[in-house]
């Protein structure tokens, strides 16, 4: 790779073709911005009939996005290799957050000990911990130069196991599965041996069977799974949720009912619509045109992330991008899939769309890392 800039003397000269700011992925940026803007609008549509202040959720989500943009800029600016070097600190901080949230400092909402209450905001430490895990696996892989033998493989698994276990203690199965997806994808790309990946896959399958056979699922999880497998069996709780969600999306048809005109949305028939079920607003009010466009925008973001992984200057950059990609793809597929009844219901937010500060800011931060890797592919 040819470089003309003097090492350590990075200048912002116009002629300097390797200057990071000249390689910002504008397409990715535009895609994310478009999704986030649509998200704010959809949150407004879903929440304007909740409570007395119809603009409450709109304003907060807009603020979250603005903070997210700032965090993204920060995550893009500081060279990811600096972050790589601070990986142990990031790891300890992530784990500390997950431990503290289980203490009385954390608070419990809807059955999960997953939040810090900070004034009017709730911070969910498992969201930044996702970013933390991505950076740590990338650092670990690049430290071993992509040579992951059995012992190093176990090391990587152990690294991920600690935060995953802490999250399962909250309990938050959905977020834990996001960690698992990140782990699987990053290990694959970081150079794990094929037989180790096969073993890991087998172990995963055994774990799933064991969870069912040993009855480790909580009642609400069984209920959700039952609703997924037999949606017509009862219209209570999860089945109700799933049925109303499908009705909303299908009701949109090709062009949708029109903004603020979806009856399922307007009349609040879909529970948790501004958070986990935000996709149903798009489906009902904007139809196949809108929801297809949204999926296409997500595909664009994922493609640019994959491209950044392929173009990255080093293994660390590739692994970071693939970690972000795994996080985004798993959340998109699980969230959109559950609203349409092809995945079981879990409480995973749709990135940039679902109402919520921690998740939105973490998603922006993740994309910031991708921009970071992409713009430094020549330096």
């Amino acid at each position: 790779m040819a470089t003309t800039s003097a090492a350590g003397g990075a200048s912002f000269s116009r002629r300097d073709g390797t200057a990071p700011w000249r390689h910002v992925d504008v397409t990715l940026l535009a895609g994310v911005a478009a999704i986030a803007a649509l998200g704010v609008l959809m949150v407004y549509s879903a929440s304007r009939n909740l409570g007395t202040d119809e603009g409450y959720f709109l304003r907060r989500q807009a603020v979250f996005c603005l903070i997210g943009l700032g965090v993204m800029a920060l995550a893009a600016t500081v060279d990811y290799r600096v972050a790589r070097d601070f990986a142990p600190v990031i790891y300890v901080a992530s784990v500390a957050g997950l431990v503290l949230v289980l203490s009385p400092l954390g608070s419990n909402r809807r059955g999960a000990q997953a939040w810090f209450q900070l004034g009017g905001f709730q911070l969910q430490p498992s969201e930044p911990a996702k970013i933390g895990l991505i950076i740590c696996i990338a650092a670990y892989a690049s430290h071993h130069r992509g040579d992951l033998n059995g012992r190093r493989m176990i090391g990587a698994l152990a690294l991920a196991a600690v935060p995953m276990l802490l999250i399962e203690l909250q309990p938050d199965l959905g977020t834990m599965l996001v960690f698992a997806a990140i782990l699987l994808a990053t290990l694959l790309v970081a150079g794990a041996r094929p037989r180790h990946m096969a073993l890991l896959g087998l172990a995963g399958a055994v774990a799933v069977v064991a969870v069912f056979q040993l009855g480790l699922l909580k009642d609400y999880q069984k209920d959700r799974l039952g609703a997924f497998l037999n949606p017509t069996e009862n219209t209570q709780k999860s089945s109700y949720n799933l049925n109303q969600s499908k009705i909303a999306i299908a009701n949109g048809s090709l062009t949708g009912r029109g903004l603020f005109k979806g009856t399922q949305t307007k009349l609040s028939y879909v529970p948790e619509q501004h958070t986990d079920f935000i996709f149903t607003v798009v489906g009902e009010e904007l139809g196949l045109a809108g929801s297809g466009l949204l999926l296409a925008l997500f595909a664009l973001v994922v493609w640019r992330t994959w491209r950044a992984a392929a173009l990255a200057k080093d293994l660390c950059g590739t692994v970071i991008c693939i970690g972000v990609l795994a996080m985004l793809v798993f959340q998109i597929f699980e969230n959109v899939g559950m609203t349409m009844g092809i995945m079981p219901i879990t409480g995973i937010p749709l990135p940039f769309m679902s109402y919520g500060g921690s998740a939105t800011i973490a998603a922006f931060a993740a994309v910031g890392l991708v921009l970071n890797v992409h713009m430094r592919r020549f330096s």
């Binding site: 009701n251 009856t263 028939y269 994959w306 793809v329 597929f333 349409m340």
Partner: protein
């Protein structure tokens, strides 16, 4: 960073990502394009509630257009218990508005006749300003509504209750039977009488309002669409208010008089618990009056009947006031049956109109072995040599015993000629009256006897039909049973020259504006061929039984101007094992051109000529335009 190994691994990731997105797109396509219709219907079902407003029911008029059932419209305030269960302050507010003490309002709200989800009327005839206030402040009164109510009223009280019938909330059985019809839970439906038969005409069309409702049940205004209720059609009856009132009054007075008299054989007072009267026009089958005593007040059923009132109507001690005895009571016709025996004897050629028989007061069946071979006249009197008209006049049992025995011993198809004649006149089958619940009656024959013996060997000790059975049948005893309506209708067929008509109480259905919607034409179900010579012989007997001093009905008609308004009739006294005699009388008038048939049946009241005939006489007085006199019991004959 571009080792081939990493490229391959990135490709794997790429393939997985592409397939996952493809799956999402495919599913989205399926839901929003392929399956969208199903779900759009579900979305509509979700959000749209249809509210129904009951229409005013059609009215019921008498033959001359005088109202028998009307509606009273007023503003009512209703409270739905379910909607106020968490807001006791609404009750306080409403009590103040209506000017009621709170405990009184609570008592009305707790009315057990209403389900928790049904609006309970708590105030009637509410002033307009209160209604307006409630509508304007509906947010302060969740679960409270001011609605226009149309409620059944009966200007003549219990008059013609069994014809009119009553209205009540539809039950599950009725709902199931009308699946696919325009009936919904909570609807009113005619439970009996004309209200039931003509329910589809009377009920009208409910008003509908389609409302949009959110997930928590809040209604979004304005309504999506609404249509006003359509009032039901009116029904005009053939019943004449005056004749009906006269029939009911005469029957009640007759029963009262019977209760004041004594059975000569036992010395006990007659129980006379119940009776019925049928007045019909033999020319077209239209009923002028249909009375059944005891009766009930259909107004008791408005807004649901009180449990204690309903229990009273069901109590056996009250002799079933809800039963319409004129069509549901089944009685042995006694000597009134002799008309059919006479027709059978004449048309089989067994006797001629002037064939005589010596009535010695009793009749012995020839070649008889067995427990009962000798049959006596009622009262044991002997009438000497009599022909058919004379036998009908004095009601000679021996004359008809002889016919019964000879038809039986003659063998061949004539063995059952009496049953055949009775059936030709419509006995043993439902007349087809446009009121529900009619009974069939019974004309016994060898087959029915065999079956009765098999089913009830205690009551019917032998299964074959014997000469004695035919002898009993000839005078309307034994297992023979008719409803008062069947009896009246059979005599109507004789009176009009042989047409068995389908009796009816409804003349026409009218739209609310008075224009006719449907006309009920007279219908004839069958024709009895009556030889004019035979008919005039029988008619002579029936007229003489009223007009001749020795006639069994003569006592009741003492002083009646038979010259200007000739009456033909037949008395009957049916013996019922274990109870007192049933008094029966049936007559038609004017005898030469009949316009009226009157049948009277009174349970446990004594002789037909003594008790039932005076009731009919009083009714005929009215029909002939005479002022009705008190019912006076006549001398006690059959």
């Amino acid at each position: 960073m571009s080792s081939d190994n990493t490229r391959l691994r990135l490709s794997i990731v790429g393939v997985v990502v592409v397939s996952l997105f493809a799956a999402l797109f495919a599913r989205l396509w399926y839901l929003q394009v392929m399956d969208t219709g199903t779900f759009q219907a579900l979305a509509t079902q979700n959000r749209v509630r249809t509210v129904y407003e009951a229409p005013p029911r059609g009215r019921i008029f008498d033959r001359q257009g005088r109202p028998l059932v009307e509606n009273r419209g007023y503003q009512a305030v209703t409270v739905t218990r379910f909607d106020i269960k968490d807001t006791p302050e609404v009750v306080t507010r409403l009590a103040a508005l209506l000017g009621l003490p709170r405990p009184e309002l609570e008592k009305r709200i707790a009315d057990p006749r209403y389900s928790p989800y049904k609006p309970v009327p708590v105030a009637e005839d509410v002033a307009e300003d209160v209604v307006a206030y409630l509508r304007e402040h509906s947010a302060d009164f969740p679960g409270v509504e001011a609605t226009a109510v149309a409620e059944r009223t009966y200007p003549h009280g219990s008059l013609a209750a069994h014809v009119l019938g009553y209205v009540g909330e539809i039950n599950n059985e009725e709902l199931d039977a009308r699946k696919g019809g325009d009936y919904r839970p909570g609807d009113d439906i005619g439970k009996s009488g004309v209200e039931r038969t003509f329910d589809l005409d009377l009920r009208g069309k409910p008003g509908t309002t389609r409302l949009e409702v959110d997930a928590s049940g809040r209604v979004l205004l304005p309504a999506l669409s609404s249509s006003p209720p359509v009032q039901g059609d009116d029904v005009q009856l053939t019943i004449d208010l005056d004749v009906q009132a006269l029939a009911e009054d005469s029957l009640a007075k007759g029963l009262e008089a019977a209760r004041a008299s004594h059975d000569r054989n036992t010395g006990k007072a007659f129980v006379a618990p119940a009776g019925s009267v049928v007045v019909l026009d033999p020319r077209d089958g239209s009923l002028l009056a249909l009375a059944s005593n005891p009766s009930y007040n259909p107004a008791d059923f408005v807004n649901g009947i009180r449990p204690d009132v309903f229990a009273g109507l069901q109590d056996p001690a009250n002799h079933c006031p809800l039963c319409n005895r004129a069509i549901q009571g089944q009685y042995a016709p006694g000597s009134t049956f002799k008309l059919f025996t006479a027709v059978a004897a004449l048309r089989t050629g067994l006797i001629a109109p002037n064939t005589t028989f010596v009535d010695e007061g009793s009749y012995r069946i020839r070649n008889c072995r067995g427990e009962k071979c000798v049959y006596r006249n009622a009262g044991g009197r002997s009438y000497g040599r009599v022909n058919l008209p004379q036998a009908l006049t004095v009601s000679s049992d021996a004359f008809f015993y002889n016919i019964g025995a000879n038809l039986w011993f003659g063998g061949g198809p004539n063995r059952n000629a009496i049953q055949g004649a009775a059936r030709d006149f419509g006995l043993g089958t439902r007349s087809g009256l446009d009121l529900g619940g009619e009974m069939r009656g019974r004309v016994p024959d060898p087959e029915s006897r065999k079956k009765a013996h098999e089913d009830f060997p205690d009551k019917f000790p032998y299964g074959d039909w014997r000469a004695g059975d035919n002898v009993n049948l000839a005078i309307g005893q034994g297992d023979t049973a008719v409803t008062p309506l069947q009896l009246a209708n059979a005599y109507a067929a004789f009176a009009n020259g042989g047409s068995v008509l389908k009796p009816r109480v409804a003349a026409r259905v009218l739209r609310p504006d008075g224009r006719p919607e449907r006309e009920m034409a007279p219908e004839s179900t069958s024709k009895v061929v009556l030889d004019p010579g035979h008919r005039s012989a029988i008619l002579q007997g029936l007229r003489s039984s009223i007009a001749r001093p020795e006639g069994t009905g003569a006592g009741a008609f003492a002083g009646f101007p038979l010259d200007s308004f000739p009456v033909a009739g037949k008395t009957g006294t049916a013996q019922v094992v274990g109870t007192q005699d049933t008094a029966v009388f049936v007559a038609f008038a004017p005898a030469d051109a009949p316009q009226y048939v009157v049948a009277v049946v009174m349970e446990e009241s004594g002789f037909g000529g003594a008790v039932a005939a005076p009731v009919a006489r009083r009714i005929l007085d009215g029909l002939a335009g005479h002022p009705p006199a008190p019912v006076q019991l006549a001398a006690g004959v059959d």
